[in-house]
Amino acid sequence: MTGDMTPMQPPTNADPKRTGLLQATRRHFFAQCGVGVGSMALAQLLQQDRCTVAGPTDTSANPLQPRIPHHTPRARAVIFLFMAGGPSQLETFSYKPKLAELNGQAPPASLLSGKRFAFLKGNEKLLGPRRPFAQYGQSGAWISDLLPHHQRVVDKLCIINSMQTDVFNHGPAKIFLNTGSSQTGRPSMGSWLTYGLGSESQDLPGFVVLQSGPRGPRNGAQLWSSGFLPTTFQGVAFRNAGTPILNLETPPGIGMQQQSQFISTVTDMNRLRQQTVGDPEIATRIAAYEMAYRMQIRAPELIDLSRESQATLDDYGVTPQEPSFANNCLLARRLVERGVRFVQLYHTNWDHHGAEEDINTDLPVRCQQVDRPIAALLTDLQERGLLQDTIVVWGGEFGRTPMGEERASVGRDHHIEAYTMWVAGGGFKPGIVWGRSDELGMGVVENPVHVHDLHATLLHCLGLDHTRLTYRFQGRDFRLTDIHGRVLQPLLA
């Protein structure tokens, strides 16, 4: 990890008068935004303020300043591989021979009771796994033939076959996996993390979103919204076509010194305005300009994949200049290498109901697009010593039903009762399979893991107590895990 805990240097010359103003602004910023008393982030900030009073080193007004976690973290960064649409666990990680046996039969009523589905009407028949499975690695985990590269790296994975979520429609379910609530308006996990921990990168946003696949994810920017947290904690989405970040070059006739003077003046002026109108949004804009300046210096190098060896490009399956999930995986490694806290990759069109998104013909295409890059990412992170403190998360907003759907071609409906996600690195036990669904994959029979539990455990690995990472908004302390969530100790190394 290249990031360190030294305070950032703003691109401006700090003078004592302004330093005082910066501190005042920062306190104002957080006080205005209603950080609850006793909340970790404010305590950290106040502590930093005291340090500043004691020593002249900290001249920063940066809300993304690294902050000390609740306990010793096992991980410092997260790469969240979001398979938007809900990938089928039954064709990837959750092997159900009994389902093959009962293919075409009605599901037993006992297994259906109490289950809720988005589209099924109740007369659908069981649909056996469409792919052959085998066991791989020391762990002997089952993986289908759609993920040959995962077969190689299976011993790095902690596969959770007992995931459960609350909502079965894409938009709300995606919001739920990101924010712990199915309603929009809450902060996403990346926002909670940068709020709680700050960012170790002074030159890049703490929370970056990369997108690939046939179309953008539904709900778009709501998925990486900071909700009621200050907007400075929202995700920054790179472009998914052409160059990922535009306008990194200063205009003709403007050198970096002039650019620095420009940013400094804009910042001064914005700060003066903030004194008059008191709008915390101005603090976000000030931080955005300072970040923009630093991105100009660091981002060109970040997005220039030409320094990567051909072997690395081949491992990931990257074609330079051609946007893809593979490119984004490599970019994700480069981002965490540079201290970015939370990188979220969306790859779309996993909604295999049938018709356009046919489970026989389209799911293999989707798997093929992600399989090699993901395996390469895990291997690459490990070889660089990054996997030990980077958590990689794979999964979608839900899984898919054991019953087939009666559409134009073969597919499965949304399933929230039992599906698969996996995590790797960052303190999770490698090479284990956790939780079990019943023999048809209808419900969980062993070690259920709810989305809230996953959130609680991820935060725990990052050094945060999910019950103490709170934000007071409209008279209530909100959490990523709402009032739920258990830390899954057995999954931790």
Binding site: G253, M291, M295
Partner: protein, 733 residues
């Protein structure tokens, strides 16, 4: 599927303000829609609601009858006045998790506060009232207020009544300059000229403000500003979307919207012409062009795709868009199954679908024979298509046939020819006097535009999962007035902007931030970033480069090389020359697969579906755009040229002029000092580097600048660039 924005937050926040939390104490009256319906809707109705096939135990809690009639079990859930014998109370508070409702797999048990509310409600007689948005708005009396002066305007009376009961004071009026700029941004989307600000500030007549409002409402740029908001709802774009994103000619529809708004076409007529102008008797060309509204759907032309599937997708898009834009209902949720929360059955969805299922979609329709202008319009098929319910939402599984008719839970429907109801009948039904929704929805969106947030925060969901109105009486009063006033949008806007509430200061107040952080009481104005298009238009206006030409085919503003043309559609972007290069952003070509970067960076919508509210993010990518984008630099050059040529070589004069042009006000001394320092710094630098000065000036200055003034010109550009990057510049205060 519907879900609501800030649902819990709203109940909590407004609840506290409204003293709803105290309602359960000491027998304070429970209001069903405020206190009880949200609990039932969130936690019960998915299984015990309108959706009959999926209803559990024969119990429904979305009607008065359902709540008091015996369910399958033979027990009535609620015994009015007697919580202790009401089965509902027993089940929600049951100690045994197997018997407790909602069941464990549907989330946590109800909270103690929720259970207490239910108990108080039953004890007080279990009053039931229909969902507020489905009851026709009645004009409420103006509430009593203590501050007679502030409360002289009807809008203010309603707001003040709430503020007074919450113990909150309204903010002071914003100063004239701020209000003048606010009004220009809201009504024109352009900055006021220094002369316009000065004349308003110097106007000694008591009605200076009202006259200014009237002037702006008559300015033709008003139609572009307000029209753009409507074009968001209409998902207007200049291309078809999908992989090949074919360029289409539909700009005559865009111009129709601008013209109709400028002419203050009554909203009922505005509705009818867009949904069914082609079905009017002997329609004018304009009335047919107006039907482009529903030709704005994305259109899949790719080879190999099933044309019927994509036609069905377009029809559904039309149904869903109509539901969002006029009714504020998430009708699209009923595509595959009966709506879980609102009274729209699966069958009723396809009954609405039937209105849009019998159209031809000509690829080219001549608007003007001579100029060969064409536009996409709707045309009725000579033989209507039969419509069936799509089982599970799949057009490949047709169910029983259905006829065109509107949902039963809403006001009655009348067709001219009862057996052949068409789009015209639907349009008239949408603007019928007894429609409970349309006027409220439109008034709310206008409020959202002028106050930064809607009276109903979920402006696209007035259903039971949506937020409750913060000021229900005000919303109803405005809706009734809107209709009785002949659906005049200008009149509505005039009413709203002449309120004291609109003219308040937007400066943050610590006392308010603690009790009302989201400003639901409207005790101050909203301070927020302007929309993407306004960012560009403001810069063009301040720099003097703006070309005021209105209408016509789309134009192609400056963009860096290799930015456009990267999608599969491989769009050409031949940068416009001359005045067309500096047209308002509403005329920028909108290609769905490849949006002009400034528009998407500043939260422009995707245009596949109706957008009724712009997101307002604030990112470093926006900073990079304003600071470094070639289109913005060009505008900074224009502004620099203006600062250079309009004033004597005096830094202070130039800074004053830059402030007046960009912010509509004068700098204070700290601001002036900061900019003087910067200007002198740049002047010194460019005096030593003429090459850099020339590069920064670009071609905009031509050859008029003498060698001796190069550094000055460059410093003016640098100064202009700072102005265009200020938070205040892109903010409506």
């Amino acid at each position: 599927m519907s879900y609501r924005i800030f649902g819990t937050a709203l109940v909590l926040g407004v609840g506290v303000l409204l003293a709803a939390a105290s309602a359960v104490r000491g027998g304070d009256p429970i209001d069903f829609n405020r206190d009880i319906r949200p609990i039932l809707s969130d936690r019960c109705l998915k299984c015990h609601g309108f959706d009959e096939p999926n209803r559990k135990g024969g119990l429904r809690l979305d009607t008065r009858e359902g709540i008091t009639a015996p369910a399958e079990s033979g027990v009535a859930p609620v015994i009015s006045g007697d919580p202790s014998t009401s089965a509902l109370m027993d089940r929600v508070s049951h100690a045994d998790p197997d018997l407790r409702m909602p069941p464990a797999d549907a989330g946590p048990p109800l909270t103690a506060a929720q259970i207490e509310k239910l108990r108080a409600w039953i004890a007080q007689g279990a009053a039931w009232s229909p969902h507020w948005a489905l009851a026709k708005p009645q004009r409420p009396p103006l509430p009593r207020v203590r501050d007679k002066e502030w409360g002289s305007h009807p809008v203010d009376r309603f707001l003040l009544a709430r503020m007074e009961s919450a113990g909150v004071q309204p903010s002071l009026p914003a100063d004239r300059r701020t209000v003048v700029r606010r009004l220009h941004l809201d009504l024109l989307g352009l900055p006021p000229s220094p002369a316009e600000v000065a004349s308003a500030v110097d106007d000694v007549q008591p009605d200076w403000y009202e006259r200014l409002v009237d002037r702006l409402l008559e300015n033709p740029h008003y139609g572009e500003r307000i029209g753009r908001i409507w074009l968001d709802a209409a998902r207007y774009a200049d291309s078809s979307g999908y992989a090949n994103d074919k360029v289409r000619s539909i700009w005559p529809y865009r111009d129709w919207v601008v013209n109709a708004i400028n002419a203050d076409m009554p909203f009922d007529q505005f509705t009818i012409e867009q949904l069914a102008g082609d079905l009017l008797e002997q329609p004018t060309i304009d009335q047919v062009v107006a039907t482009g509204f529903h030709r704005n759907t994305p259109h899949q032309y790719e080879g190999g795709s099933d044309p019927e599937q994509y036609r069905v997708d377009r029809v559904k898009n039309r149904v869903d868009t109509t539901g969002t834009v006029w009714l504020g209902l998430t009708i699209g949720c009923a595509q595959c199954h009966t709506h879980k929360y609102d009274p729209i059955s699966h069958t009723e969805y396809y009954q609405l679908y039937a209105f849009f299922n019998s159209d031809d979609e000509p690829e080219s329709w001549a608007v003007d024979g001579e100029k060969k202008t064409t536009s996409l319009v709707m045309q009725p098929l000579s033989t209507p298509r039969a419509t069936h319910r799509h089982l599970r939402g799949s057009f490949l599984s047709p169910g029983e046939p259905v006829a065109a008719i509107t949902p039963a839970a809403l006001h009655p429907f009348q067709a001219q020819r009862p057996n052949a109801a068409n789009r015209l009948d639907l349009a008239r039904w949408l603007v019928a006097a007894d429609n409970p929704l349309t006027a409220r929805v439109i008034v709310n969106r206008m409020w959202l535009h002028l106050f930064g947030a809607g009276l109903v925060q979920t402006e696209n969901d007035f259903g039971s999962q949506g937020a409750l109105p913060s000021h229900p009486e005000l919303l109803d009063w405005l809706a009734v007035r809107f209709m009785t006033d002949g659906w005049s949008m200008k009149s509505l806007q005039r009413l709203l902007v002449t309120s004291a509430a609109y003219r308040q200061s937007s400066v943050r107040r610590e006392d308010l931030d603690s009790v009302d952080p989201t400003n639901q009481l409207v005790a101050r104005q909203s301070r927020h970033r302007v929309e993407a298009e306004v960012v560009r238009d403001l810069a063009l206006g301040a720099s003097g480069l703006l070309a005021g030409t209105m209408g016509g085919p789309a134009v192609f503003p400056t963009v860096a090389p290799h930015v456009m043309g990267t999608s599969s559609a491989k769009h050409d972007w031949p940068i416009s020359q001359g005045a067309d290069r500096f047209r308002r952003a509403i005329y920028t070509a909108l290609y769905r697969a490849e949006m002009y970067p400034l528009l998407s960076t500043f939260d422009g919508p995707d245009r596949d579906n109706a957008c009724t509210r712009r997101n307002r993010s604030n990112t470093p990518l926006q900073s990079l755009t304003l600071a470094n984008d070639p289109a913005m630099l060009e505008i900074a050059q224009g502004l620099g040229k203006r600062l250079l040529s309009e004033h004597a070589p005096d830094a202070r004069q130039r800074i004053l002029q830059a402030f007046n042009l960009c912010l509509g006000r004068e700098p204070n001394s700290a601001e002036r000092d900061s900019l003087v320092r910067y200007y002198q710094q740049q002047l010194a630098h460019y005096a030593t580097d003429e090459k850099a000065a020339g590069e920064l000036m670009g071609p905009m200055f031509g050859t008029v600048v003498p060698q001796s003034a190069l550094a000055e010109a460059a410093a003016c550009v640098a100064l202009g660039r700072v102005m265009l990057n200020l938070d205040e510049f892109v903010t409506r205060e």
